[in-house]
Amino acid sequence: MRFTYLCACAGILLLRCDSVNPSTAPKVWSAVDIRDQAIAGGTIAGFSASDWVTLRGNPIPMLSPPYGASPRLQSANRDGLNVMPAFSEGKTAAYAVAEAWQNIPQLWIQPWYRFVTSYNPANPAGAPLPNAMPIVDIDTTSWFYCPFWEFIYVVVPADTPPDKYLSASQLFQDNLEMHRGGSGLVAPLAPGDILPAVAQSDPSPVRPFSNDAIGTAPAGLNIPIALKGATRTSTLYSSGLFTWDSTGVVDQVPLFVFARVDASGQTVPFGLPNVIGTGPIGSGRPARLTGSGMPQFGALSRVYLTLLPPNAGVFIPSSQSSLRSYFASLGGIRVDPINPAIEARTDAKDYSGRVALNSASCFSNPATFPSGCQWLDSQAALEINLGPGRLLQQDLLLTSPVLYFNGLKVGL
């Protein structure tokens, strides 16, 4: 009897178990997951999935009204990762959101095995095994999946059939010679029909607001890889354009997303160009650039919703009257008139969508434009001018390969 009572008590206690709270549960949103959410009209950590992915044949949000004069439709044969306009270090930039990481604090680099028939440290990839697929060992179903890969060179005899090895466990089973490569790839696992968005009317992806072309048609980004014996597709964005620490943690930077508080009290993004940081908040880390000026930051970013003070205004030329009206209707940000002489500048497009703390005065004075403006277009400017109270860290990391920076097309 007592035992029965004990069991009953235990049962009652077990009935009290929590249910999983989606807002706190760790989750990897692969490119497929984001697309599925976009199809369902869903959100990811408060962001509409369709902000990041445009389904095939649909209007690309930031190239269509109110941002553009008429709808510009995504290519009919694939879905598009929206090209997100941004600024970084005071320069124009653009990125895409390829994956999202909700409630996952950091990412760890994973190996990308490449086959070579001999190893030369000075030119490690100099003797590739022809037609052999690279191998990775972790899928998007793991929380430790990471699209940031470190090259591991695997030495095999020259007569090795290219399809002999299709899983990492085989490499270890055969005790193959391996060498760390020291650099890596940003290459999310994604099907071949999810690539940076290209409007049907355009030959290549473009950066909204400035309409800069940011690359060529991206179909060539897809490469086949082997994963646990199966062939998968990876989208190759860049090589050598990220960093990691000695324990394998991929360096992340803040992504400042300008936001407002709506009528319901929710903090929601404006839909403005965001700001890509260069190092941890408060670190003062300078931008890491390659010798050719490519950014080695930004491919992994943590979202900070960024609240603007009342005096901040956005630069939108008068030619985009619908967009001016749109932002004016949202509230929470000034849309001040711009002096025609400023609008006539050849570099005016580079300021489109940029936010200044003193927009009322600086947009009206050609003599002091742009140096007289207090632009919020870099991590340092945001940290100094807004302070930590307006920078709201989110439990959201993004695989956000930089596609364009300071006039350079970034990536492969």
Binding site: L6, S19, Q106, W108, W143, F144, E150, F172
Partner: protein, 445 residues
């Protein structure tokens, strides 16, 4: 001779024999002739209600043992392979494989600076160097209050460790009170910190009880102590020389070892339920014991009770003359964590992945009595373990191990043991030299 043999065989199985007080293993220190072994009130016949009723004067007893080890492991003493850059480093190998003592501590956890996510045993951190060490200094206190059907027991252990390995600790391994309310029934209620009730390997947790030295590859899931309440009941069927028993517990952490889930507090607010149903056939010179176990509840390395863990297992033991055979199987599943953070005995880690494992061991032992007063018994044993495990999104790994060794028992107070572990990575995990020679000298009082 016959009685002594029965003692040894029961001891070899890690459970008491069927002959009541005579079968009390010398290595179950808290017991007296008529007292139950408080740490093992499973289906062990060691549990024998006091026919005389509660003691009028009460009793206080002190027992204990010292376990001194010497071991040498291959490689760097760990299962991590140099050059394997997959992360977390502990997801693609079996970190528990190179065990060197009865606590399951390993020779090393040197992952070469790579990130690990807390699926780890404790470590003696001797690496590949041959070394002596103190495994355990164990002290038991048992008290029976006068006139009460109550037993109070505490087992405290000092674990001296090198600072670069696991820290030196004092562990209260067991601390409970047990009430036996009915003199006519074999029924007991315990509250406190006590042994697992899942399967049978927990019966060999202590170095002086274990035939060999190291635990099996599945011991991490079944042998952990935890805090809570449990009830044991056995119903005898004398007409067929049989008994049926049930042992059930509600505890903070289920049966996991402490390095993987803390037993000390409930992190979720909801207990784990565990139970074992057993059947035993006790005949002269021949015993069969079989059981089925189950566990269900929240994983206690999370602060949300939503992620569950569930396990079932079967076990069996056969004793025939000098020969004893035993085996156990477990199938366990853990849900993914519901929040960031994984809280284990070895630290706090970022994420609690979903996990599934199944595995088994089989052991054979021959305990040969010598008839001498000094060297009383020579036991030879061999065990085969196999474990198939997979973290969510990682590939499965299949590992196995052969363990073979010998044990010499002197004067009922000294055990000298030596064994060799042949660890094998059968699939998924990189092959790595991680075999172990280990030995142990256990002084019991």
């Amino acid at each position: 001779m016959r009685s002594h043999l029965a003692k040894m065989l029961c001891f070899a199985l890690g459970a008491a024999g069927s002959s009541g007080a005579a079968a009390q293993p010398r290595s179950e220190p808290p017991q007296s002739v008529q007292e139950p072994g408080p740490e093992n009130p499973n289906d062990s016949p060691g549990y024998t209600p006091d026919e005389e009723g509660p003691s009028a004067s009460g009793s206080l007893k002190l027992h204990g043992y010292i376990d001194v080890g010497f071991a040498k492991a291959q490689g760097n003493g760990s299962s991590f392979r140099q050059g394997d850059t997959r992360l977390p480093a502990d997801y693609g190998v079996d970190t528990f494989a190179p065990a060197i003592n009865s606590r399951g501590e390993v020779a090393s956890l040197d992952a070469g600076g790579r990130f690990v996510n807390g699926f780890l045993p404790y470590s003696m951190e001797i690496g590949s160097r041959a070394s002596f060490f103190i495994n355990t200094v164990n002290a038991d206190i048992q008290y029976t209050p006068p006139g009460a059907p109550l037993l109070i027991f505490a087992r405290t252990q000092l674990l001296p460790r090198f600072a670069n390995g696991t820290k030196t600790r004092v562990v209260v391994e067991q601390a409970f009170g047990r009430l036996t309310p009915f003199s006519s029934q074999e029924f007991a209620l315990s509250v406190g910190k006590f042994d697992s009730v899942f399967g049978i390997e927990y019966l060999e947790n202590q170095a002086n009880l274990r035939i060999g030295i190291t635990p099996s590859l599945i011991a991490r899931y079944t042998t952990g102590q935890s805090i809570g309440a449990k009830a044991f009941y056995r119903y005898h069927l004398p007409s067929i020389s049989s008994a049926i028993s049930i042992n059930a517990a509600v505890t903070n952490s289920g049966n996991w070892v402490e390095s993987l889930q803390t037993p000390d507090i409930s992190l979720t607010g909801v207990p784990n339920g565990t139970a074992r149903l057993g059947y035993e056939l006790n005949m002269l010179g021949f015993q069969v014991k079989v059981g089925g176990s189950g566990m269900y509840g929240p994983r206690n390395d999370q602060q949300s009770s939503a992620p569950r863990q569930r396990a079932f297992g079967v076990d069996g033991r056969v004793i025939l003359g000098w020969l004893s055979l035993s085996g156990e199987y477990i199938n366990l599943r853990e849900d993914s964590g519901a929040e960031p953070g994984k809280y284990t005995g070895t630290g706090v880690y970022p994420l609690a992945s979903g996990f599934k494992v199944d595995g088994f061991y089989n052991q054979a032992a021959v305990a040969i009595p010598t008839g001498a007063t000094s060297l009383q018994t020579v036991t030879l044993y061999a065990r085969y373990d196999r474990r198939h495990a997979e973290f969510e999104g990682f590939g499965p790994i299949l590992t196995s191990r052969w363990t073979t060794g010998a044990r010499l028992d002197f004067w009922s107070a000294l055990a000298v043991k030596a064994e060799y572990l042949f660890n094998r990575e059968n699939a998924g995990a990189p092959t790595v030299p991680n075999d172990v020679f280990t030995s142990s000298v256990v002084f019991t009082w």
